[in-house]
């Protein structure tokens, strides 16, 4: 599904070019559960921004379902973000003055769905992430774990090809982290591709494939052996 070849990316800092990514080659198939690990500044966030169509300025070739992403226009990128990928951020990124239901329904609004259809779909997704009856609540009245569930609901509401999660458990305590990870696992079992960035080994160990990045280069790419298999 995702096919990266020779991806490089550099920022300009003053007069110097600072290269974040060096010649990344990566293949991710549909249905995988991938963790990308690395220390701060290793370029892991930059990488998933490229994978998630947030960043269009890079060198190299990114094929998504056999479409060359760099050939697409900005409007088509917006469409890809809307239809093909779901984002989950470390600090949830919910719109604070809108209700939970409206936050979750936002991608559907941009997809052009009717309000009535949106409400039924949002209710369905909220139940799926374990938050029924919170359509009308405001995000600030929910705990961190619940807010992250809302964010996950928003990410999966359009039934995208894959989810991109940037440190989804970074702002949560370990018990809540476990709940969220269980939710991801559950989603993955139902066929959703999940790509997450983390620097927590514990979290990364629960995925099926672990990619380690250091200084913009892939250091290792291996399957995770689970204790019970």
């Amino acid at each position: 599904m995702i096919n990266l070849s020779a991806i490089s990316k550099s920022y300009r800092q003053g007069n110097d070019d600072y290269q974040v990514l060096h010649d990344i080659n990566l293949n991710i198939q549909a249905g995988e559960f991938v963790a990308i690990m690395g220390p701060s500044g290793s370029g892991k966030s930059t990488l998933i921004n490229i994978i998630g169509f947030l960043d269009q300025h890079f060198d190299g070739n990114y094929m998504f379902n056999n479409v060359k992403v760099s050939d697409l226009k900005r409007k088509q990128h917006a469409q890809l973000r809307n239809q093909s990928v779901g984002f989950i951020f470390q600090n949830f990124k919910l719109i604070t003055n809108q209700s939970v239901g409206e936050n979750v329904g936002l991608p559907l609004l941009y997809a052009g769905m009717k309000r009535r259809d949106i409400v039924s779909r949002v209710t369905e997704v909220l139940t799926q992430v374990g938050l029924p009856d919170s359509y009308k609540k405001l995000p600030k009245n929910l705990s961190g774990g619940q807010q992250q569930r809302v964010a996950i609901a928003r990410a999966i509401v359009t039934a995208p090809n894959f989810l991109v999660a940037d440190e989804p458990t970074g702002a949560l305590d370990s018990a809540t982290s476990a709940e969220i990870m269980a939710l991801f696992k559950n989603l993955n079992d139902r066929g959703t591709t999940v790509i997450m960035v983390t620097h927590d080994e514990q979290v990364a160990r629960q995925t099926n494939r672990l990619i380690k990045i250091l200084d913009g280069r892939i250091q290792s790419d291996e399957e995770v052996r689970h204790a019970n298999t």
């Binding site: 921004n49 409007k75 469409q79 973000r81 809307n82 951020f89 990124k93 941009y110």
Partner: protein, 393 residues
């Protein structure tokens, strides 16, 4: 995204910042309200003037040509030949000789040997308006054409010292003697302008003064005719070949041209004041721009989230643009109503009514939309051009 949703979300974000929205709107309200007030009053003044052009409800307009004989001669200025020639003009629907449209005219006469030049009201039927003593012109007087007259207190006193002496005494007007049957007050008037001091029955007066009274020609024109030009043409023609062109002159006092001139001046003044008032609209527009810039920087996160879940740049641009237009448009509509209210209130103390036309509504609607678009486009552009990666970091 459906267009309706854009409006709904714009409306809600305005509501979520009520105080700021209202404060920004006040500028627009004041601007639009003052423009509408001035336009409504200026238009009202103009309409009141144009009404004096005597356009009838069907759009017909009428003018008058007067014949004034040279010297003291009393001659009828209009003969059948003249009328027939005028009636050949396709623009003229009616050509009628009459003494005076209002039934008011001034004459020469004497009372008890003293010369007077009274303003005379020719009464068509019975009349006892402004009567002080005696009795008015009765049905009987009209029926048998009795030469009776009502005179003002001052004329009565001038001729006969007291009003009671004047009753049943005589008054001579244009050579005819009338019997004074009643005394009217000195401020007797028709309408608010036409004061008069003698009333006589019209039939009696016209029977005795046919020549004098027949010197006004009333012309009625078809709708849309250029009445000033046509009437001037007829007057010129009468002056060169009319039946009495050697004995006097045919004059046309062009009321229409004068009123048109005045209304042009009123229009000019109105537009000038409107231009001054629109400066406040400009300032209000800058206020809108300022508020939109603040809103954009406050809601950077929201913009980022919306873009991350699939909003295109265009949709973000429209969201903020619609917000700005909605703000100015609702301000404009409130200002329109306020302006009408003020204009109505002010016109209660003025001799004319404020005029409400669909064009002023469209003006308020259009202006406030344009202000919203012009001053909203830059902040909206800023919002839509934000770099997604920078926002979400």
């Amino acid at each position: 995204m459906q267009t309706r949703e854009l409006f709904v979300s714009a409306f809600r974000s305005l509501l979520s910042n009520k105080r700021r929205s209202i404060l920004t709107m006040i500028g627009i309200i004041i601007g639009i309200a003052s423009v509408i007030t001035i336009l409504a009053l200026g238009d009202g003044a103009r309409v009141a003037m144009m009404k004096n052009l005597q356009a009838s409800t069907s759009g017909e307009q009428s003018t008058e040509i007067n014949f004034s004989p040279k010297g003291e001669n009393i001659i009828a200025g209009f003969k059948d030949d003249d009328l027939n020639r005028i009636r050949e003009n396709k623009q003229v629907t009616k050509a009628k000789i009459q003494s005076d449209d209002q039934g008011m005219l001034s004459a020469r006469g004497s009372v008890n040997g003293k010369n007077i030049s009274p303003a005379i009201y020719l009464s068509q039927s019975t009349n006892d308006d402004h009567l002080v003593t005696g009795h008015g012109i009765s049905k009987q007087d009209v029926l048998v054409s009795n030469p009776v007259a009502l005179v003002s207190q001052s004329i009565a006193k001038k001729g006969y010292k007291t009003t009671s002496n004047a009753i049943n005494a005589g008054i001579e007007i244009n050579g005819t003697t009338y019997t004074i049957v009643g005394i009217i007050s000195n401020d007797a008037s028709r309408g608010s302008y036409n004061t008069y001091n003698v009333v006589v029955p019209r039939q009696v007066f016209e029977a005795n003064n046919a020549d004098v009274s027949a010197n006004t020609l009333k012309l009625t024109f078809v709708a849309g005719a250029n009445v000033s030009k046509e009437t001037q043409k007829i007057a010129d023609q009468l002056n060169s070949s009319g039946s009495q062109h050697n004995a006097g002159s045919y004059d046309f006092f062009d009321m229409a041209a004068m009123l048109k001139g005045v209304s042009t001046v009123i229009k000019g003044i109105t537009y000038f004041i409107v231009a001054v008032a629109s400066i406040s609209l400009f300032i209000a527009g800058i206020g809108v721009m300022n508020m939109m810039y603040i809103a954009v920087s406050e809601r950077t996160q929201e913009i980022g989230i919306r873009m991350a879940v699939g909003a295109s740049q265009k949709q973000i641009l429209w969201q903020f643009l619609i917000e700005a237009v909605m703000l100015t448009l609702s301000g404009g509509m409130i200002g329109y109503l306020a302006g009408l209210g003020v204009a109505m209130g002010v016109s209660a103390f003025l001799p004319f009514k404020a005029s409400v036309s669909i064009s002023t509504f469209l003006l308020a609607f259009g202006t406030s939309t344009i202000v919203g678009l012009v001053f909203g486009i830059l902040p909206a552009k800023t919002a839509s051009n934000k770099n997604l990666i920078d926002i979400l970091r």
